[in-house]
Amino acid sequence: MEIYLDNIATTKIDSLVLKAMMPYFDNLYGNASSIHKQGIKASAAIEKARAIIANKINAEPDEIYFNSGGTEGNNFVISGLVKNHTKSKKHFIISNIEHPSVFEVAKYYEADGIDVTYISVNKDGIINPDDIKKAIKKETIFVSVMHVNNEIGTIQPIYEIGKICKEKGVFFHSDICQSFTKTEINVKKQNIDFATLNSHKIHGPKGVGAIYIRKGINIPPVFYGGGQENSLRPGTYNTPGIVGFGKAVEISNENDIVNISNLRDYFIEKIFNSIDDVLLNGINGNNRVCNNINLIFKNVEGKKIFTELNKQNIFISTGSACSSTILKPSRIIKALGHVDKIAHGAIRIGISKWTTKEELDIVIENLIEIVKKERSKIN
């Protein structure tokens, strides 16, 4: 028996999603840019997916541009905005807990002479919108703050940040890969100008995502050579992937979110009642995304817990998935104010709609044993 609790890194595709995708691998394999009947059918399926995704974030369908996923989306928006403005404006703002596909891009442009402000978070991993307000200057091009952090699950006050950006006349980009379908996103109400979305975090296929760009804003493409996606993201359409992405959004529902939240709270409460000296990274309660649990067991290495659970076919994560092969303490956990030794203890557990209470009980039993054994080695 395997227990998969790495659902923040990626999720299992839903069978309904897979079923919706299959015809576009098989009978309807025509290029969605071709004008024959096959092409039109493929194109219609893409447009249906576009409408579903747009509706979920209160955008218009022609504000959605399909691409390969979150990393491409974040790179695209930031690079495009910087390229468009370097003559007159040379500054942008991000939080210090952004995903590497924002953080590393910022570092790249900083080395290239662009001024970047990194906004710190508090001990719960939350940004103070006033810090953003104070950091905006006349050279500021945009602010980029992720809606939900991929390691600690904190939900940022993007409504307040969007409002500030609108008042100050700077663009607001949000990476919503971890929050999409899990917490409310309304690009109009939240004044989001650009958003990065992906599919594989929500039981859709890998290798497909989208960006939302508010109508009327122009940024240059990264690729050239085709007319797809209004020439902003040329390349042959990934029709099965896009159809699957749309289906994954269509079947997402509030009941799943409530159930996942309940499981998260059950797990956290039971761990705190069973094991001493445990820290929950990120905030507890409503400002934490439903599927995220990030814990530190004092005096126990996160990597050790990971290894022992892995032996039992229980799959979790230490740090973020992208950096789990690098034995450095998580930048995000350190941003909460933890020293390296403590930060090394972090483990991340990601729940999905298929996680059961019985599975969580097995994980808790294992954690109790592992922590007891490891701590006994010190005493």
Binding site: I35, K37, I46
Partner: protein
């Protein structure tokens, strides 16, 4: 547009083929029998391709009007 009154209008100016046909078909599937959709398409390839692809799917173009050198209005009835 004369006496023909459309229930809904779909503006597809600047939308390339076959996305324009695809979006029209998608719109039509959400409309009721007897309703009329007015579709605005560009001259050139769009006006050549969109009507035929709609007819291929069984829809009837009841009127087409060229309103400028670059623009056409199609009236499609859902039956």
């Amino acid at each position: 547009m004369d006496s023909l009154k459309a229930n809904e209008i779909l503006d597809l100016k600047g939308v390339p083929c076959p996305q324009n046909s695809a979006r029209t078909l998608l719109k039509l599937t959400g409309m009721d029998n007897g309703e009329i959709l007015e579709v605005i398409v560009d001259d050139g390839e769009p006006i050549e391709n969109v009507p035929s692809s709609l007819e291929d799917e069984g829809y009837k173009i009841i009127k087409r009007i060229q309103t400028s050198d670059s623009q056409w209005h199609l009236f499609v009835k859902v039956e």
